[in-house]
């Protein structure tokens, strides 16, 4: 079990029960567990959707789409069964928030999925857990079993006359399956490859039925919104960015860890106060603000509120909330190579630009970092990334292209320092391995 961190600025909503033994269903009930779903059972589906809409809750997977809005797209009447899916395929480097939720508070995900099911009129939900999180799926299995034993799941839940089944499903080790349509393919037992859209999952999703698919953290926030009210939740954050979220601080920090902070919390404060600043008296070089796919920020760009809209304005993204801090000992070329190695490895291979583009980026950066770079390589790296961006089948290609372009654009000088047979200047200095190595 990962050790927990804390900071006075934290606003504990989702992480409220972390470390409280809430994997035990009775303990979870003591901590107000399964109250929200009972409240929701007494509500009209539209009222639940409105509550979530008004809370300003936006998808925590990275895209930041309004959760209530997403639910409202599901048709009321459907010939095929409707489904709720919890996306627990958390795989983005720098991101480790769902892991804590599953580990400390699995019932809140179940409860959130139940409320989502009530809101859209679904009787089946699946909780999809990343393949590498095998030990977490054991916790989740037990939680689901316990909920069934209490009569919270199955036929006639809480004596309401409503039937609801929840199943867990393990992934096979693919980042790509975090993409919602690829997740559905995987769940159906096929190769984890994204689907053509439209149709969108809300209309034609799992097994062809209307489907709501939400990130685990998103669903974990839902019970709190139902109990605490939309206004209370919305006001925790900034306008249009309701609530709090789990920020995963990693890299060269004194106090790395997962902190729950209000949406719109200042990044600079996050690094220097919450995260305890850069160790060993070194200085900040760059920050990846929302997981490895988000364009890097320079030290002069970090005085920015951490919400979806402010970061978009800053030319990057809030993404999955994985803040990776790099100090001045880190070679950006090596960091770019490490990042692209991940995307090359995880590309599903379906479309040309992502499959070939990530591979050529990896090959070129590998040689480049090893000291055999050519001047034209720098432009070629940018050219490749630029020609992947927006042309791939799914966002994975963008996820590889965006940070690469930012690295070249913002650290061109450092690339040039690697040229003409020069070995990596950082390795010469005997620097530590870059983060995420």
């Amino acid at each position: 079990m990962a050790s927990l961190v804390s900071h006075p600025d934290e606003v504990r909503v989702i992480s409220k029960r972390f470390g409280q033994g809430a994997t035990n269903i009775d303990r979870y009930l003591e901590l107000d567990g399964y109250k929200a779903v009972q409240k929701a059972l007494a509500m009209q589906p539209d009222a639940i959707i409105n509550e979530v809409k008004n809370s300003g809750l936006r998808g925590r997977g990275g895209a930041g789409f309004s959760t209530g809005m997403k639910w409202s797209f599901v048709p009321k009447q459907s010939a095929k069964p409707k489904y709720v899916l919890c996306n627990g395929d958390e795989s983005e480097p720098g991101t480790c928030k769902d892991r804590l939720i599953f580990e400390h508070d699995p019932h809140t995900v179940i409860e959130g999925a139940m409320i989502a099911a009530l809101a859209v009129g679904s009787h089946t939900a699946y909780i999809y857990i990343r393949g590498e999180y095998r030990y977490l799926s054991v916790i989740m299995q037990k939680a689901i079993k316990d909920a069934y034993a209490k009569g919270f799941l199955g036929k006639n839940i809480f004596g309401s006359g409503y039937d609801l089944d929840i199943y867990w499903h393990g992934g096979a080790g693919a980042y790509e399956v975090g993409e919602e349509s690829a997740l559905m393919e995987s769940l159906e037992g096929k190769r984890g490859i994204p689907r053509i859209r439209p149709p969108f999952p809300a209309i034609v999703g799992l097994w062809g039925g209307p489907t709501v698919i939400n990130n685990a953290e998103t669903l974990a926030a839902v019970p709190h919104i139902i109990l605490g009210g939309a206004d209370w939740y919305a006001k925790l954050g900034t306008p249009k960015n309701g609530g709090t979220r789990l920020f995963c601080l990693s890299g060269n920090l004194n106090k790395p860890g997962v902190y729950e902070l209000p949406m719109g919390y200042n990044l600079q404060k996050m690094i220097y106060e919450v995260g305890g600043g850069i160790p060993n008296g070194r200085s900040l070089k760059a920050v990846v603000p929302g997981g490895s796919s988000t364009p890097v920020l320079l030290p002069e760009e970090i005085d920015v509120p951490m919400d979806f809209d402010s970061l978009a304005k800053a030319g990057t993204m809030l993404g999955s909330g994985g803040v990776v801090v790099l100090d001045d000992t880190i070679c950006i070329v090596k960091f770019a190579l490490r990042t692209i190695k991940f995307y090359q490895h995880e590309s599903c291979g379906w479309c040309i630009p992502c499959r070939e583009g990530t591979d050529w980026l990896k090959k070129t950066l590998t040689r480049f970092h090893a000291g055999a770079g050519l001047k034209k390589d720098i432009d070629n790296i940018y050219y490749l990334a630029e020609n992947m961006l927006g042309k791939t089948f799914c966002p994975l290609g963008d996820a590889a292209a965006m940070p690469t372009m930012a690295f070249v654009k913002k650290f061109r000088k450092e690339f040039e320092d690697h040229l003409e047979g020069k070995p990596c200047p950082f390795e010469k200095a005997g620097a530590a391995e870059p983060v995420m190595a």
Partner: protein
């Protein structure tokens, strides 16, 4: 659906709502490039080549997955779009081997075309290409893995199109690779569709690879000589030391009734033409041994013997001491000529062929009832199909393709009644399994005879249907409108009559009678019967042909088994087998003919040829011109592709034999000008009456043919006198198929059902030709008892 109007490259275009943008553009001549998009297969959006700019959309969109909407404004060729496509090609070429100079696809490669169009001529990469070893998946399918660009066309055409599901994708990312179903090899129908549909040279044909360059071939679109479906196959032909060699078959010409489809036979089984045992010299039996001879020697001998035998017994038997057996693979012109030659020159009605389906019964039942047969194209669009007997997957691969495609893309309802769990049951909305031989009873049950229901219940079949299920199936079938009913040789004679009368109770039902060989239907229609003349005219009422051909023997002749009996009794003095092998195929005791003068025209020393007195080396259907009528009754042009030195078409041999017999050749083949073309009846010439043939030619703007070896001269006569064959000549010559109307035929006659002997060929056999096709014999499925591959 209503039309929508959109703007593409500043041009206003309209297209039906729901059309894909790529198709809408194609319809007005704007080509949008793509690798993965293929009409009729599921959408992929994988290659990203078809990206276009659509106003109000932030990113480029794929035209293959975008549906047209009203007011859409599209740019298909601006700088942004061209750059995106160029980058795709650059990235592909990074790993694609540039072995174009030796690649089979060089010159007809879509990746080459794209590189040419988008100028991705410089590589930005200096790293080594990813390499994987080439694999051989079967004798006919090779996979050069690094050349693959992962468009997934092969995977889809195999799965969705063929319902074989033998190909899939393994691994992920840049390691993604197309893989066969059996680890290192394919277990499939070996159709080669994956090869044809491959946009690059990744999948190559075992028959063709590294043989030649595409531009060194002549490409001749002709009709496949194997089964009765009549697929158009484009033969790639190259010069060689023995004439013209066929090196490739494919379906690059999509205008045929088969559109995208070809099976293993149409694609690879042309290789019999160059089999080392091919006969290239006439053989005459001398001192008990077949000895090479000249053509002149051979014709002289045959002419002399045929004339002697005909005249010798003429006083009492006429020509009845001579038996003539025709072929299911010779052209209509040859079959017509043979029918005429037998009756006019040999003076015999002892004419027959290997019958594989009861076409005369269909003609009899539909006599005077027009519009009741379906063409092969109609199967693709019919709202419902009833399949009685037969196993199209094996015996009529194109029909099976049409049915599958129709069910898949147009949601046609398929009903299958069969004594075996044939593969097409997978597409069926209703499958009734009957005990072997009970197909006719099923027809009677459909027509309303409930007393036969018990005999349909097969306790042995595991998925045997209940009585209620049978009644439910019947109700569904009866409610279908415009249904195509295809039936196999399980139904014969009066059973066909019953089926036709049942069909007439349904709205718009049309029929297809399934026969086994490329021109089985043509052999029937050209009168290779002892009692039927061309166009199913009974001998008994032969006025029309008496007038055309002159005096004909009046008595019905001998059928094939009767000829055998006559031979046993020493009454058959001569046997003339044209492109047929009755001894081998029908299991006739060869010693029966030991006292007969046997002449065989064939490509190989078949069982029949080995007992012959004279063997003439024949050209096959790929080496001559003429027409074929497929099993549905679609007339198509057969075009000469190659030739093998010192073989002759059967047509020419017949004319030469007639000449050697001292017959008037211009009476047999209407060639030359003026009165001579009145085929020797001379009435026109001497009585001053009009020469009807000349009149017909003039009316159709056709020139008299100048040589007696020109099959077009007989086609003139066929079109003039054979019922139903008066279709457009221009259309025919243009390579288009035309459906013939059988209802105009003569009254026909019900035949003895036992005379029908199904060929029982499957995907990997094809009568004599199959025995001499190396490819068909090489595939491993040929040896396996159960070739059906499990569905995905």
């Amino acid at each position: 659906m209503a039309d929508v109007t959109l703007t593409v490259d500043d041009k206003k275009i309209t297209a039906p709502a729901g059309t894909l943008l790529i198709e809408a553009c194609k319809s007005v001549g704007i080509e949008i490039p793509s690798f993965c998009y293929y009409p009729g297969l599921s959408l992929q959006g994988a290659c990203r080549m078809c990206v276009v700019k659509i106003e109000k959309m932030p990113k480029l969109q794929t035209a293959c997955t975008t549906v047209v909407t009203e007011g859409m404004i599209v740019a298909t060729d601006n700088d942004e779009v061209r750059q995106a496509r160029k980058a795709m090609v650059e990235m592909l070429l990074g790993n694609h081997p540039l072995d174009c100079p030796v690649c089979d696809a060089g010159g007809e490669c879509e990746l080459q075309d794209m590189a040419f169009s988008y100028g991705a001529s410089e590589s930005k990469f200096i790293e080594a290409k990813n390499h994987k070893e080439e694999q051989q998946w079967s004798p006919v399918v090779y996979f050069d893995r690094p050349r693959c660009i992962l468009c997934y066309r092969c995977v889809r055409v195999c799965g969705e199109g063929m319902d074989v599901w033998a190909l899939g994708v393994q691994n992920r990312g840049v390691s993604s690779i197309i893989a066969p179903n059996e680890k290192d090899h394919l277990e499939c129908e070996e159709c080669g569709m994956c090869i044809d549909i491959c946009p690059v040279g990744a999948l190559t044909s075992g028959a063709y690879r590294y043989k030649t360059r595409p531009w060194e071939m002549n490409h001749v679109g002709t009709i496949c000589t194997h089964c009765g479906d009549g697929c158009k196959t484009t033969l790639g032909v190259r010069r060689c030391d023995t004439g013209m060699e066929i090196v490739r078959g494919d379906n690059r010409d999509k205008s045929g009734i088969n559109n995208d489809f070809l099976c293993i036979k149409g694609r690879y089984a042309f290789d019999f033409a160059h089999h080392k045992e091919r006969l290239t010299q006439p053989l005459i039996r001398k001192n008990g041994k077949l000895t090479p001879a000249t053509w002149e020697e051979a014709f002289e001998l045959i002419g002399k013997r045929f004339r002697e035998i005909r005249d010798e017994v003429r006083d009492h038997d006429g020509g009845s001491a001579i038996g003539v057996i025709g072929s299911n693979r010779t052209t209509n012109e040859e079959n017509y000529l043979l029918s005429k030659f037998a009756r006019v020159v040999l003076k015999t009605n002892n004419v027959d062929h290997h019958r594989t389906a009861d076409f005369p019964a269909l003609a009899a039942a539909l006599h005077g009832k027009p519009g009741k047969t379906a063409s092969m194209r109609e199967v693709l669009n019919a709202p419902a199909i009833l399949l009685l007997g037969n196993d199209p997957t094996n015996q009529h691969p194109l029909l099976a393709w049409q049915i599958r495609t129709n069910v898949r893309l147009r949601r046609a309802k398929l009903y299958v009644i069969n004594s075996a769990p044939i593969k097409l049951r997978r597409q069926a909305a209703g499958f009734g399994m009957v005990p072997a031989g009970a197909e006719a009873k099923a027809v009677a049950f459909l027509a309303g005879d409930d007393s036969l229901l018990d005999s349909l219940l097969d306790s042995k079949a595991s998925d045997s249907m209940t009585r209620d299920a049978w009644i439910g199936l019947r109700d569904k079938i009866r409610a279908e409108q415009n249904m195509v009913i295809a039936f196999g040789s399980e139904l014969r004679g009066h059973d066909i009559e019953k089926l036709v009368s049942f069909a007439s109770t349904l709205t718009g039902a049309k029929l297809i009678c399934l026969g086994d060989y490329a021109n089985s239907r043509g052999a029937s229609e050209m009168g290779l019967y002892p009692d039927l003349l061309p166009g199913y005219e009974p001998i008994a009422s032969a006025d029309k042909f008496q007038k055309e051909w002159g005096n004909l023997p009046a008595e019905k002749g001998l059928s094939l088994p009767e000829m055998v009996e006559a031979a046993k009794a020493g009454k058959l003095k001569a046997l003339y087998a044209v492109g047929s092998n009755p001894v081998g195929r029908l299991g006739i005791d060869p010693f029966v003919f030991s006292k007969s003068f046997v002449v065989v025209q064939d490509m190989f020393l078949t069982e029949t040829a080995t007992i012959a007195d004279v063997v003439l080396p024949a050209a096959n259907a790929y080496e001559k011109t003429g027409t074929y009528t497929n099993t549905c009754g679609d007339l198509q042009l057969v075009k000469k592709a190659g030739e093998v030195t010192n073989t002759k078409p059967d047509f020419e041999m017949m004319v030469r034999i007639a000449d050697a017999m001292g017959s008037d050749v211009s009476g047999l083949v209407p060639f030359g000008s003026g009165t001579h073309s009145d085929m020797g009846q001379t009435r026109g010439a001497q009585s001053g009456e009009a020469d009807s043939h000349a009149v017909w030619l003039e009316a159709h703007n056709l020139e008299p043919k100048m040589t007696p070896f020109d099959p077009m001269a007989i086609l003139d006569e066929i079109q003039r006198v054979v019922a139903g064959y008066h279709v457009s000549r221009v259309n025919l010559l243009a390579g288009n198929d035309q459906h013939l109307e059988i209802a105009e035929s003569g009254a026909s006659a019900i035949q003895n059902p036992e005379l029908i002997v199904p060929a029982n060929d499957d995907l990997f056999s094809s009568g004599t030709l199959g025995r001499y096709s190396k490819t068909l014999n090489s595939v491993f499925e040929n040896k396996s008892a159960d070739a059906e591959v499990a569905a995905d």
